[in-house]
């Protein structure tokens, strides 16, 4: 089937009443989560994962995608109204958004955040459609060696981008992969690191690590940094929500730049909406006509990062759907959900589950329209959720995680593991050890090991297979460039300084 036929098929799936319902639920919940500081889409998806056990995979993924990009919309609300970013991806919006609110222009700022998110989100969905299919078709040529190299590169990229220290990132990735090896080895039936504990013979469910690292540790960290903040005060009357003609004119360039930067960054594994919004804002400082005024309350300073974070959220789904490699921590959770629902992620997804993939793509078009409709008039009302004090919210987050993990296998052992991962996650994040790398490691670990062992069986123990296969060699070259880019940059800087002297 051609592109348009597939898209129409996708719309026929996305427009089913049950999927529309889940899309609506997802985008509203995502907006609310985005508005609330202290809880992000990662923690929300982690808590909802157990609830998706009995769901249709398409409906579950539509809901999760809705939560993901919905959170990008919602995150701008508190950035603009209170200078408190609802999400890490909305930090840059605080700079100009809050200043606009102080000048009495909160309405146009909120309106432009929604419009910019809509335009960037829609354009990036088109780009995703155009790129994901050829990428998936190309990836069908991948053998075990290529898959192993691809996953290795993806993990390394996450390790590189998620932490100031590459070593810490790789240590965490190794930790995550190690946890995935605990249990009975599928190929040989040998127990690994089980020590006669029957509860771990089947391995450790990645959901427990995801809940511990994302939900529990986030609560603990927020408690430490948010003490003293009680109830948020929210201004209620925001009548003028629509930007004027001059605002649209000034936002055109930033939206375009934000969309391109955001999408490209989002496609890269390990980056995600936060980095995209930082880079987009940085780009505005170089290319905007009003660059000197950035930070004082100009509309471009809102339009660019908001467009970028939505474009990046969509971009992160490209490697997930086409290659089975998540582009961000949240996409890693969605990958985990696919595995849990017995859907094989990777390039075969387009062939084996076209209704799921195209259903998600079509629902994203619908979801973006819903978000624009919801955000423009209703955000001042949705922002009332900020009145809920955090001291009421976080015990519920902890309990939801508790019940969520218990509902996997009704095992007390899992609850102890959740506690351990929660405390470990807290300390890891305090010490700048990126937990996303560990989560990616535990999710990709089994597939990586299988690919490694298959490659070595095919090559009869010859490790050069990873270099003699062209695609694998290319991916390993990318890996080398990624890992050494900081050092290469330092070497060039040193040569430049020598030449200057």
């Amino acid at each position: 089937m051609g592109l348009w036929e597939n898209l129409l098929m996708g719309f026929s799936v996305a427009l089913l009443p049950v999927n529309l319902l889940f899309c609506t639920f997802g985008v509203i919940l995502g907006t609310l989560i985005g508005i609330l500081p202290g809880i992000g889409p990662g923690a929300t998806l982690a808590m909802l994962l157990p609830l998706t056990f009995g769901m249709n995979p398409t409906s579950a993924m539509i809901m999760m995608a809705g939560i993901y990009y919905g959170a990008m919309y919602g995150g701008s609300t508190t950035s603009i109204l209170l200078s408190i970013p609802g999400e890490a991806s909305s930090v840059m919006t605080c700079l100009d958004g809050y200043q606009m609110a102080r000048k009495g222009r909160a309405g146009p700022a909120l309106g432009m955040a929604a419009i910019s998110s809509f335009i960037a989100g829609t354009l990036s969905i088109v780009a995703m459609m155009l790129i994901a299919i050829p990428l998936a078709s190309y990836a069908l040529r991948f053998g075990p060696a290529e898959y192993f190299s691809l996953m290795l590169w993806g993990l390394s990229a996450v390790a590189y981008f998620q932490s100031k220290s590459l070593k810490k990132g790789i240590i965490m990735a190794a930790f995550g992969i190690f946890v995935s090896t605990i249990g009975v080895d599928i190929l040989t039936g040998v127990g690994r690191f089980t020590y006669d504990v029957s509860e771990v013979l089947d391995g450790i469910d990645f959901l427990i690590m995801i809940m511990g690292f994302f939900a529990i540790s986030e609560v603990l960290l927020t408690l430490e940094t948010e003490s003293g903040r009680e109830v948020f005060r929210v201004p209620l009357k925001l009548r003028e929500l629509f930007p004027n003609k001059q605002d649209y004119k000034e936002s055109f360039g930033p939206i375009c730049r934000g969309t391109v930067v955001g999408f490209l960054i989002g496609v890269l594994p390990g980056t995600g909406p936060s980095i995209a919004s930082f880079l987009a804002y940085g780009l505005e400082k170089k290319f905007s006509k009003r660059a000197k005024e950035l930070g004082t309350g100009i509309i471009g300073g809102v339009a660019s990062p908001e467009g970028a974070n939505n474009a990046a959220a969509t971009g992160a789904l490209v490697p997930l759907l086409s290659l089975g490699i998540p582009g961000s921590g949240v996409a890693a959770i969605m990958l985990g959900a696919l595995i849990m629902m017995k859907v094989r992620p990777g390039p075969f997804l387009f062939q084996e589950h076209p209704d799921l993939v195209w259903g998600i793509i079509a629902s994203m078009y619908i979801g973006n329209i819903m978000l624009l409709i919801i955000n423009l008039p209703f955000v001042p009302f949705l922002a009332q959720i900020l009145r809920i004090p955090y001291y009421i919210l976080y015990p519920f987050i902890l309990l939801f995680s508790f019940v969520g993990v218990y509902s996997i296998d009704y095992s007390l052992f899992d609850l102890w593991l959740l506690l351990i991962f929660g405390i470990l996650g807290y300390f890891f994040r305090k010490l700048d050890f990126p937990v996303v790398a560990a989560v990616l490691g535990i999710v990709l670990g089994p597939m990586m090991e299988l690919a490694l062992r298959q490659s070595l069986i095919l090559s009869r123990g010859d490790w050069t297979i990873f270099l003699t296969e062209p695609i694998s060699a290319f991916l390993l070259a990318l890996l080398f460039l990624t890992l050494s880019s900081r050092y290469i940059k330092s070497i060039f800087q040193w040569i430049y300084s020598l030449l200057k002297k």
Partner: protein
């Protein structure tokens, strides 16, 4: 060459990763690295253990060699870590008691502890939020979603 000797949490973390990596290497030695059929169950753990211990060792040396750089305190100085500690204790107690007391009673005690001790709220807040939490979880998880939560002292 002076090496900073004051032990910080990052030193402990890298040391723990180093020993953990060495532990993995040792344990993977018990498993086969290779068999007639190909790579064995010990191969990947061995590679992971080597990567972890080497990188942790290098990190530890780098950290020890850093001199007098201004670093943020690990725990915030306003005492908010005490709240974090109390929440960890409460969560541990919840996990330890849930099977014995049952989920609903354990949840009630957990919420009361958090709101009353960790957050130091009024009795009205403690009662209201605790009752709301217990009722809410019962309705959503037991009644609606049919999740068999532990009953503890309230029977099987």
């Amino acid at each position: 060459m002076r090496i900073k000797t004051r032990i910080k949490p990052i030193h402990i973390a890298t040391a723990l990763f180093l020993f953990f990596g060495l532990f993995i290497i040792r344990e993977s030695h018990v498993l086969q690295y290779w068999s007639e059929l190909g790579p064995g169950p010990g191969l990947l753990p061995l590679l992971l253990g080597i990567a972890m211990s080497v990188l942790a060792f290098i990190s530890m040396i780098e950290i020890l060699m850093k001199r007098g750089q201004n670093e943020e305190a690990f725990f915030s100085e306003d005492g908010s870590f005490k709240k974090v500690g109390l929440v960890m204790i409460a969560y541990t107690a919840l996990t330890a008691l849930v099977n014995k007391l049952g989920f609903l009673l354990a949840t009630a005690l957990f919420m009361a502890f958090i709101i009353g001790i960790a957050e130091r709220r009024s009795w009205i807040s403690i009662l209201t939020i605790t009752i709301f939490a217990v009722a809410g979880f019962y309705c959503v998880f037991v009644v609606l979603l049919n999740v068999p939560l532990p009953r503890g002292i309230f029977g099987k």
